[in-house]
Symmetry: C2
Subunit: 331 residues, 2 copies
């Protein structure tokens, strides 16, 4: 992958598009990542300073959050599809969208294709663990009502991704509500035997808390359940921060304490801020795709763009293809 | 319900049983809640001080965490079943167990019976919300692979419970991964129309984060998904506390700040500590049942016992029965 290739960025996706996306693109560009924005020229151009170095490709159509995901199949002029086409034609090293996740998944499968050996592409998110490591969670929302074969396929993709992140012989867990093999719903009980047949280091059923404490490196689940897990974790941290802020505001001593703690709190926020990495990788398509948060601010957009560039640079797709071609990740 | 009746407590359930359970029972008893411990007399008696005021009923059998839940059907001598029988015979106002949740649910349905109009009993947990309110989450783990009719039944139980907690006309949400009616898995999409038919204030699909921020009072879900949500929230808070502690230990200024913040942190922990309420109510059986956390410490056990006594005192079962008899909660 040519590292000088830009990242194609869907300028129209996200709650504050295009402003937040353009600001994030400018940010990434200033840090040396070439970017091509894709979307409504008339709305984007006024936001781009002269000689910004950021490219712009016009796309007249936009996928709204209320649209059916499948509608992108017949809408080749949407910013999502045009950005995918840039990747497909080798004019971009990867794409980023903070828009309609379902539409991004459909468009990626359609325009980029699915790697041999993959049942369905999955969204992989990294969560901070208490032991300082990172947890690869997948699927975080691309597929609901998954069959056991899909979960097994996610295990292969997740393990390959963890290896790419530098984890040797990653421990793969199946998300459940108890450690015993008999715990879980029908989907989990049917999937565990399939996972155990893979030549991966499968540690069995893992509960959310145990995984976050460091019990595994890859946590495999259905996209509905994974998305609930992710958003429950985000929500709980939000509640904690909010209530802590209220407690601090109640006493002068506590306010002084908070001031003294400010540096630690800042470093801490950097470690747990779910928005700092900016996006999640879609694994299993023949091209780098990063799905950003709908509420992404410019910083998160910039981080998502860097994640796409870094993943392309590290050869995410060729690495996944070789792992899948070998049937399984090298362990 | 006679308020002088004791709470029957399964002394053998939980990771540190019977020691942690006995300590929690003594604690509750000192605070004026009559308690009868149920379990292996030879192991419990040495832990009970003379004239403690805590009763003891012998039960020779114990359900192990690895046992099948259904095995309690033919094991009437287990501490869980004997405690249920005390409630059934009117010798206890409610029961608490920190043991095998599945076995507690089976035993409760068997010994106490299920209220008319209830499909399946559900575990209801309270979560702190960012707006200071409390979120009733159910089912938090009693039933997996729920049919839409079960989720509708949970909505009725949860709304009635929220009213008992003092919330007028509670807002009922269906847990999903997007607000639109079309978002979610097959189970959610099939259930929402049923919920909307109930004469409850159904606000539609609600995401975990939105619910925790205060978007609804009752959050209805399948027990597998609800348990994942609960444990993901607990896990995320655990990670935050752990990483914050590490950051604080790094600098003397931060340590002084933490010392000044100690009071605020203590109050804050009391508000978000998921263990302080000690347990979750099983709703829908003809008797008060509280399911405690397997890792419950004495304080959490004491809180679970108080929750059972308070629920019996407030007439939880008659209130639920009248709401169910009326077809729906009074709104």
């Amino acid at each position: 992958m040519n590292p000088a290739l830009p990242v194609a960025v869907d300028a129209m996706g996200g709650d504050e598009a295009p402003a937040a996306v353009v600001a994030g693109a400018l940010d990434a560009s200033r840090r040396g990542v070439p970017v091509t924005l894709v979307g409504d020229r008339a709305r984007i151009e006024p936001l781009l300073p002269r000689a910004s170095g950021v490219g712009l490709v016009h796309a007249p159509d936009v996928v709204a959050m209320s649209d059916e995901a499948g509608s992108v199949r017949r809408r080749a002029d949407t910013s999502i599809r045009v950005a995918m086409q840039l990747v497909r034609r080798g004019e971009a090293c990867g794409m980023v969208s903070c828009g309609h996740t379902g539409a991004v998944v459909v468009a990626a499968a359609l325009d980029l294709g699915i790697l041999d050996g993959v049942e369905r592409p999955a969204i992989a998110t990294l969560l901070p663990r208490a032991d300082g490591g990172r947890l690869v969670l997948l699927d975080a929302g691309a597929n609901v009502d998954c069959r056991p074969e899909q979960l097994a396929s996610f295990a292969v993709l997740g393990a390959a991704y963890a290896e790419l992140l530098g984890v040797a012989d990653p421990r793969v867990g199946l998300l459940s509500i108890g450690e015993e093999d008999t715990k879980g719903n029908m989907q989990v009980r049917a999937s565990l035997p399939l996972l155990r047949e893979l030549p991966l280091r499968v540690v069995g059923n893992v509960e959310p808390g145990a995984a976050m404490m460091g019990g595994c490196d890859v946590l495999v689940c259905d996209g509905f359940v994974g998305n609930v897990l992710l958003k429950a974790a985000e929500g709980a941290v939000g509640v904690v921060v909010q209530l802590l802020r209220e407690e601090i505001s109640r006493s002068p001593g506590a306010r002084l304490g908070a001031w003294l703690l400010a540096g630690a709190l800042r470093r801490f926020r950097r470690r747990v801020a779910w928005d700092v990495q900016g996006g999640a990788l879609l694994l299993g398509t023949d091209g780098v795709v990063v799905v950003g948060h709908g509420r992404a601010n410019p910083r998160a957009v910039g981080a998502a763009i860097e994640l796409a560039a870094r993943s392309a640079h590290k050869g995410l797709v060729p690495v996944l293809r070789s792992k899948l071609g070998a049937g399984v990740p090298s362990v």
